[in-house]
Symmetry: C2
Subunit: 387 residues, 2 copies
């Protein structure tokens, strides 16, 4: 019998909107988005899931959402309850939260033509996205990221996931959202650590792809550190644009093993674990970037002057660039992160280093001694921040 | 800030191979398939998961697989253990089996460039496919279906899933395999009910799409009932071909709400539940087809002569076309299945009926009284089978 060859393509489209005061009655952006989902004979629904940490800073949020939908989105029926989930990495460790969301999808009759709307930081969006992606084989997901990190990076991409038996993002899918709404005003209630943390991903993408963007960050470092909203608005837009361009132009569902956007991330992931997530993701990425930049200089790729500019801008933004856990156990704990990163990627180890500011270069191995020397360099040159 | 428009396509390709004695040392099909995955610096692995029901009929299977890989597939490292899972719908109800498979993926270091190989009936392949799809955001899946139903229908498609709190396929994804291997000799150990059951999906697809195929089944009904392997081989190939063509030509990940391949399935799904899966999927589909054909005739679509031919061929193959649960609670239990089917599809109810043999037609509502009359018709015309 002749072999059957199956072949098809799936097309994905979504918009990342930038706005302020998303749920204010005068803002029609969200209502306009939903208008295209008005058809005869359909009653689409929406289940809203909110990060408790964000909700605590926005006490009237649930009422505001209900009022907005009642007034401006008559064709979408909100589920009777707005679901709250704890924020931060812990939310991805608790399988009961996943079950709670899947159960809510069932309870409120959220079908494949209805919506799940996630409002929160990256961890909550990862959890909500995963629950939406696997319920009924995929419910339409709207992401409303509330942190710099999720507005410029994870929230505009195509991944979701939860942890499993302590393994970060072990369970997850590639599942593009149907829309992302970035509200600048949601960032006002962030603490300084989270405001700063998200800038690390912008530095990352500028270093591997766009010298001009890096120079803009250099120029605006003080303004960004002082919580200038106009500067942050541009930074998020440019970073999100580069992130989405990279996804569309490359390998969106990562069938290969190259992951340039993971520059600085092998050490960052490990450091998050070694510190039990006391070091937050953006903070860990800043350290990971610093480490891989020092390494890049030590192996003769990155010019020393470039390295100094990079460390300067990270310092000026207030990032710590060293943590004692990096050196623990003669740096072996850190170096184990390389093997785990390889396993997570699958196949061959691929690590992004820098040739110069704005130009990444992939390598397939890192030297253990030079990693150790790079850690020592960061320790010896550390700046004590007072923030 | 300007809206960012994201847009990309993901391409999927896979082959459905037809063979006999897949793991015999003289059969190079599987070894040839794996040859294209030999690259420098990669050590790809494979985790094999087998349906216990199938393994019970093939006592030497695990050894045969190990011997085959050791001799013919040097570039793929088999996980130390071959995992066994119970077969049948029960395997999809137990969340611990999903956890067991995810844990095995972790334990044996199966990364995204390695393989999970599922060997079994449709339920086991659904479970294994789901675990593979969400571990590391998607491990390469090879399906080796061992029943008629999985070889000609579910096993060659793009879905997976498990049940959640009693809801069939509530959790799942659309995730194409990287290859499917259909081994005719694996069907020899099927009991008569499962041999017959899979034929229902072939009848279904012939009725909505291909009169010539229906006429071939009519002609071969006695041979098929008598377990003629040559006839079954052709039936599976043609059914799988139509199934894969339909997926590629239509809406593979079902973003819309039309599901023509679910002809006869709304009642079938409900009947499976009402009988606690004592009526197997193919048997339920045969009844569901009969019911929707009678309905099609009663509403003036399907000619009576066509209806009689359809019921004749189902009878000749040995299918029961009535079950007392259809009439239970004044047929209300059955009719509730319509609403559940709508919820599962999402959005508007879409049901396939027949205009004539080989030509389906979609409708958006069914009349409760005519459903009841159709059940009565099946009861009054039932044939007592002695199989």
């Amino acid at each position: 019998m002749q072999t059957i060859q199956q072949s098809f393509k799936i097309e994905y489209n979504y918009s990342v909107f930038f706005t302020e005061y998303l749920f204010d009655h005068s803002n029609t952006l969200l209502a306009d988005f939903f208008k295209k989902f008005s058809e005869e004979g359909f009653q689409r629904k929406a289940l809203v899931v909110v990060d408790e940490g964000f909700a605590a800073h926005h006490p009237g949020l649930a009422d505001q959402i209900r009022t907005y939908f009642a007034a401006a989105v008559p064709n979408i029926q909100l589920a009777a309850d707005i679901i709250m989930v704890p924020g931060g990495e812990a939310s991805k460790n608790d399988p009961e939260l996943f079950n709670k969301l899947a159960q809510a999808v069932d309870t409120y009759g959220i079908d494949r033509h209805s919506f799940v709307i996630g409002i929160g930081g990256g961890a909550v969006l990862d959890l909500v996205g995963y629950a939406a992606a696997v319920s009924h084989r995929g419910i339409k997901l709207i992401r409303i990221p509330t942190t710099v990190l999720s507005q410029n990076d994870s929230g505009v991409g195509v991944k979701n996931g939860i942890n499993f038996h302590g393994k970060k993002n072990f369970l997850g899918t590639f599942a593009p959202p149907v829309a992302v709404f970035n509200d600048l005003t949601f960032l006002r209630t962030l603490d300084d650590r989270d405001w700063r943390g998200g800038i690390a991903e912008a530095i990352k993408v500028s270093l591997i792809k766009d010298q001009a963007f890096f120079e803009w960050i250099e120029e605006k470092a003080t303004a960004l550190a002082n919580r200038d909203e106009a500067a942050m608005s541009y930074l998020i837009h440019r970073c999100a644009e580069m992130h989405t361009d990279h996804i569309a132009g490359g390998d969106p569902f990562e069938f290969g093993s190259s992951r340039p956007l993971d520059f600085g991330h092998w050490a960052a992931h490990k450091l998050e674990y070694l510190t039990d997530f006391q070091v937050r993701h953006g903070e860990a990425v800043a350290i990971g970037i610093a480490l891989d930049c020092v390494y890049s200089e030590k192996v003769g790729k990155l010019p020393e002057s470039d390295l100094n500019r990079i460390l300067d801008v990270l310092n000026k933004l207030g990032f710590e660039l060293y943590h004692p856990k990096l050196a623990e156990n003669d740096k072996i704990n850190l170096r184990n992160g390389l093997q785990e990163f390889r396993e997570h990627l699958g196949g061959r180890l691929t690590i992004m280093l820098l040739d110069k500011i704005g130009k990444g270069v992939e390598v397939h191995e890192l030297d253990a001694d030079i990693i150790s020397q790079s850690v020592d360099y960061l320790e010896s040159s550390k700046i004590i921040h007072t923030l």
